[in-house]
């Protein structure tokens, strides 16, 4: 199922004019504070009625200003994780979690126990939201949305209030959801790590406009987008197949450019994975380096060199069939005489490719 969004709306001084397509999978909305991300989600949810435009989910028109169609919010079958929680204060955590189920058509959906366990809120079920901590509230809100058995999941910075460990527990769940269902997920996040890991599609917003949108791996690996994404988020994805699980806890994958060793990846042999490599985690060398602790050394060819305004440079590489980005100093780029066509080696540490950036091939 795919979500098509195209609408314009004004509040006060702020005007919103967006159009994008969110296919099944995770569509990340990213952009500065106040750029209109929550407003877009609200329009999709039906909480804002845009001045003009059309929003369509699969075959269903949710909103059409011209044809004066607007499906009532409660018939849109949403799971909306609000930026500010919005738990029902008079209901226990359990009742909050079950709220959407009263209305959802009976269907297998998500298992209550599984969601609760994953979110670590087993101990809170009989409490009321009033006394919960910020992160606990946020987790209950996520659970409530997931359990509503939605056709469309809207998540507005769902993990912002959570610690890294908790995030690391929830992200794989969202990945699984992305892989197993065909419901579109609109996901607002300021964390490029999250975006890079989860997003199938990426929509970058600024001042109420969409400034870039498209498949996440394309948007993220386009050196032109580095300024918009922020330098620390730039990176590209390698496609690789799980080849072996070694005894020392490393997993060997085969990319088109050669073998990759990563900390244990929980995937079966033969599985095809997309591995995101941040530009700043890549070291380049003109000769194959020896005796380094970094295990992964891929031969590559320089495709493009983009010198930034600061002391850095972004180098786009081809490694086998994949494109990679490397961020190095301009001084090194000159010293190594990196120019389009130059052959070199890309060095990456196994541990730099953290768990959170290995995903099923989106």
């Amino acid at each position: 199922m795919s979500l098509t969004v195209r609408f314009a709306h004004r509040f006060g001084d702020f005007s919103l004019d967006v159009a994008f397509q969110a296919p099944a999978g995770v569509t990340a909305l990213s952009g500065r504070s106040g750029s209109g991300k929550t407003s877009v989600i609200n329009a999709v949810a039906g909480l804002i009625r845009p001045d003009a435009g059309r929003i369509q989910l699969g075959e269903t028109v949710l909103f059409d200003a011209e044809r004066r169609i607007s499906v009532p919010v409660h018939r849109r079958r949403l799971g909306y994780v609000f930026q500010e929680g919005r738990l029902f204060p008079h209901l226990s955590v359990r009742q909050n979690l079950n709220y959407g189920r009263w209305f959802a058509p009976r269907s297998p959906g998500e298992s209550f126990d599984h969601v609760v366990g994953m979110l670590g809120i087993d101990g809170l079920l009989e409490r009321r939201p009033g006394g919960l901590s910020g992160g606990e509230k946020q987790r209950v809100a996520i659970g409530r949305a997931l359990l509503a058995n939605p056709r469309l999941l809207l998540m507005d910075e769902p993990l912002a209030a959570l610690d890294e460990e908790r995030k690391a527990e929830i992200l794989p769940y969202l990945e699984r959801l992305r892989g197993e269902t065909d419901i579109p997920i609109l996901y607002v996040s300021h964390s490029m790590a999250e975006v890079a890991r989860l997003a199938t599609t990426l929509v970058l917003m600024d001042k109420g406009q969409v400034i870039r949108s498209g498949p996440a791996h394309e948007v993220l690996s386009d050196p032109e987008n580095v300024p918009a994404l922020g330098i620390r988020a730039a990176g590209a994805s390698l496609q690789a197949i799980v080849a072996a699980q070694a005894e020392d806890g490393l997993t060997r994958l085969e990319a088109s450019a050669g073998p990759l060793f990563l900390p244990h990846v929980d995937a079966s042999l033969g599985a095809r994975l997309s591995i995101r490599i941040l530009a700043q985690d890549v070291i380049l060398s003109r000769t194959r380096p020896e005796g380094l602790s970094a295990l992964n050394i891929l031969p590559a060819t320089v495709m493009a060199v983009r010198l930034g305004e600061g002391p850095g440079a972004i180098i786009q590489l081809r490694a086998g069939d994949d494109l990679l980005l490397a961020r190095i100093t301009r001084r090194s780029a000159l010293a190594l005489e990196l120019a389009p066509g130059a052959a070199c080696f890309a060095v990456l540490k196994s541990v730099a490719v953290a768990q959170s950036e290995v995903g099923g091939a989106g």
């Binding site: 949810a45 039906g46 909480l47 009532p72 919010v73 409660h74 018939r75 849109r76 079958r77 949403l78 799971g79 909306y80 609000f82 500010e84 919005r86 029902f88 204060p89 008079h90 209901l91 709220y99 959407g100 009263w102 209305f103 959802a104 409490r127 009321r128 939201p129 009033g130 006394g131 919960l132 409530r144 949305a145 509503a148 809207l154």
Partner: protein
């Protein structure tokens, strides 16, 4: 029953007085309970919708507060009396007679208490964060369900406050009641009517005072109960 208090006051009630106490309770409880759903509905409509005639409805609801009770009583008599337009229809098609019945006393009490009830509930509704209602609707709850599962539980303290105000008012209502349904011992003689009777004759003060104390005791009990329920509800919402 407390007999022979120091002041020479005796709390032994005559059968008529007992009946007046029982009747007042019955009238007030029914007036409160039956008008409660209407009160909630009207308060909701006034709090959450804009429509043509809204201020007229608002004014109508407040009318019994503004009018001298006797006038309200007359209007009820003219409307709901057996010869009145609505009263006639009720009698003819539903067999409901209000005039000179305790049901009429309940109607009068309900009408007089209605503005108080509606105001309290309306204030409570206006204090509910619409964002919570929105959240419920994103989860699939239709407007009616949102009301039943989110709005109503959240306004419960306000509803209780409204109900108790209405009950207290109903216990004290006199002018409209006696004008509409008169004072028939055992049928429409409420506590305030009995008290009024005593006050009309020289030397009736002590007897009136006795009944006043009973009325006050009942109403205070109800008040305490409502405070207690309200507190329990509020505590539940705040989360232990």
């Amino acid at each position: 029953m407390l007999d022979g208090l120091p002041g020479g006051l005796t709390f032994t009630l005559t059968p008529d007085e007992w009946r007046a106490v029982a009747l007042s309770l019955k009238v007030s409880v029914w007036a409160t309970l039956v008008s409660l759903p209407f009160g909630v509905a009207v308060a909701y409509v006034l709090a959450r919708y804009e429509f043509w005639g809204k201020q007229a409805l608002n004014g109508l609801v407040h009318l019994p507060l503004i009018l001298p009770p006797v006038v309200t009583g007359y209007i009820l008599l003219m409307t709901f009396g057996r010869k009145g337009f609505v009263g006639g229809l009720l009698d003819q098609y539903l067999g409901i007679v209000l005039a000179f019945r305790w049901t009429g006393a309940a109607l009068a009490a309900a009408v007089m208490a209605f503005p108080l009830m509606v105001r309290a509930i309306r204030l409570a509704i206006e204090a509910v964060d619409p964002k919570l209602e929105q959240a419920a609707s994103t989860l699939g709850a239709s407007r009616a369900w949102v009301f039943a599962t989110v709005t109503l539980p959240l306004i419960l303290p306000g509803v209780i406050a409204g109900a108790i105000l209405a009950f207290a008012k109903a216990m004290g209502e006199f002018g409209a009641t006696i004008t509409f349904v008169s004072n028939i011992p055992g049928q429409t003689q409420t506590l305030p009517s009995a008290i009024y009777s005593f006050l009309q004759v020289p030397g009736g003060d002590a007897q009136a005072a006795r009944l006043v104390l009973i009325a006050v005791a009942i109403a205070l009990l109800a008040l305490l109960l409502s405070e207690w329920i309200g507190r329990a509800v509020a505590r539940r919402i705040a989360g232990s």
